[in-house]
Amino acid sequence: MFPPGANTDAIKTTSYKAVLPFYAYAALSFLVATVLMLFSAGQFSGHYFQPHTLAITHIMALGWGTMIILGASHQLVPVIIEGKLHSERLAYASFALAALGIPLLVRGFFIFDMGGPAQWGGILVVLAIGVYFVNLGLSIAKSKTENIQAIYIFTATAWLLLTSILGLALLYNFSIPLFSKDSLHYLPLHAHLGIIGWFLLLIIGVGSKLIPMFLISKYSHTKLIWWIYVCINTALLSYIFLFYFSNNTTLLLLPVIVLFAGIALFAKYIYQAIRERLRRQIDDPMKISISAVLMMGIPILLLILAIGLLSFIAKANMSLILAYGFLIFFGWLTAIILGMTFKTLPFIVWNKVYHRRSAMGKTPTPKDLFNHTIFKFMGIIYIAGLLVFTIGILSHFVLLLKIGAALLVIAAFLYNINVFKIITHQPVEK
């Protein structure tokens, strides 16, 4: 019972204070990454192993993708595991460690100095992920309900921890020979552990709960979600096996096909959720998030093409690999974040500002907290930038790369305007 004025601890969700710094950091990282890309556009017409490309990739993977996912998950994990977050202090610790570590690491890549500061940056990032992993594990252990989505999140975080430890070892491998081969050799392994193990697994796990929830869909199919889990992990484990024990590039198609099957099953799941939805209207943030599900398929097709061309046309192949990486970080991952930010952040801030001011129509709704015209322009400019830059990579045309990057800078700027408009929102009575 909640008597008058009583606290509502039993339903209290994670404090906004533990969540908002992640969103702000991620938004700024996205802007920084696009600005760096504008000034390093020329590097996207050659090999992917370039200092600036590595720096931008890590800003996107850690500063943008991982930070916003960590922030959102501190809020969403209680919804998914039906239990409280173990510790908000650990959430602050995780943020502080990552916020310090990422710039040190990125600076190291940018000037190609893998010495002390970059190594410290790597250590801090590993610690930040370790702290999050412990916090998540203890939260799940305390929760009374077991569900597939919790298993997805836990497995994805374990893959992230492994990715970051391997990344740190690769960083040290530049100065101390830890591995038998140079770090460049292990880069595809490090990248795919992060992309598939962390981002893909986590986004599918969380998306399988949130997308039907936001659509108010009657559709539910736990068995199918399990099959997707099996496909993705099998693809990743078999890729690791082939990486170490086979030199046959064509065999790499096997994990790619299994992965594609997993993604196709997820697309089927989302399609059914859309068909069986009770809510007819799909808002713009949801449309972007749903289109990101389809975007998952494009990098896979490029990968199949790259594997097919591997021994034939070296330069064309490099472009395909660059386009593959670009479309993962700036395409699929960014699209889902651009959409989901505006399905989560306004609610977190609305709850902070209005939770004691009642939801009786006297206050603005969460959707009123951001500018929808700016959101629409951001969406259009983002898609234009993505297309132009991809064509630039594939055609080696630097001017197109610069135009594409400039459009992405504008999209990131508009995104930041809306994010900070939400974060700094002050109470207004309607």
């Binding site: 019972m1 909640f2 008597p3 008058p4 509502t8 039993a10 339903i11 209290k12 969700t13 809020q75 209680p78 919804v79 039906e82 239990g83 409280k84 929830m213 936001f214 108010i216 009657k218 009770l278 809510r279 007819r280 209207q281 609610f347 977190i348 609305w350 709850n351 209005y354 939770h355 004691r356 009642s358 939801a359 009786m360 129509g361 709704t365 969460p366």
Partner: protein, 107 residues
């Protein structure tokens, strides 16, 4: 109305008050959304018991919705002590949405 009550006229008034509480994400009032399970009046003790649920555990909007329920009932029944009981047994499901609610969502 989906809620069961022990005093029809007063419960109707309570439900009408709760129809003013809107789920901020969905835009639908919480009565038609099916969040209100039961309303009981204890006339001897001047108490109003409201048993309700949320669409999910630890719903980010949960605290605000519960607070709004409390406020709406207190404003309508100032002489009563309002006691909101939150339960997830049974959990909320789509079947609880009223026909009016379904029509709203289908717009």
């Amino acid at each position: 109305m989906s809620a069961t009550t022990n005093d029809n006229s007063k419960s109707e008034v309570a439900l009408a008050a709760l129809e003013q509480v809107i789920d901020p994400e969905i835009g639908l009032n919480i009565v038609d959304l099916g969040l209100i399970y039961q309303i009981d009046f204890d006339e001897k003790e001047n108490k109003l018991y409201c048993t309700m649920t949320l669409t999910t555990h630890f719903c980010p909007m949960g605290e605000s919705i519960v607070f709004s329920v409390q406020e709406a009932l207190q404003t309508t029944f100032p002489d009563y002590e309002i006691l909101v009981h939150l339960t997830f047994d049974p959990p909320w499901s789509h079947e609880r949405i009223s026909e009016k609610g379904k029509a709203f969502l289908n717009q």
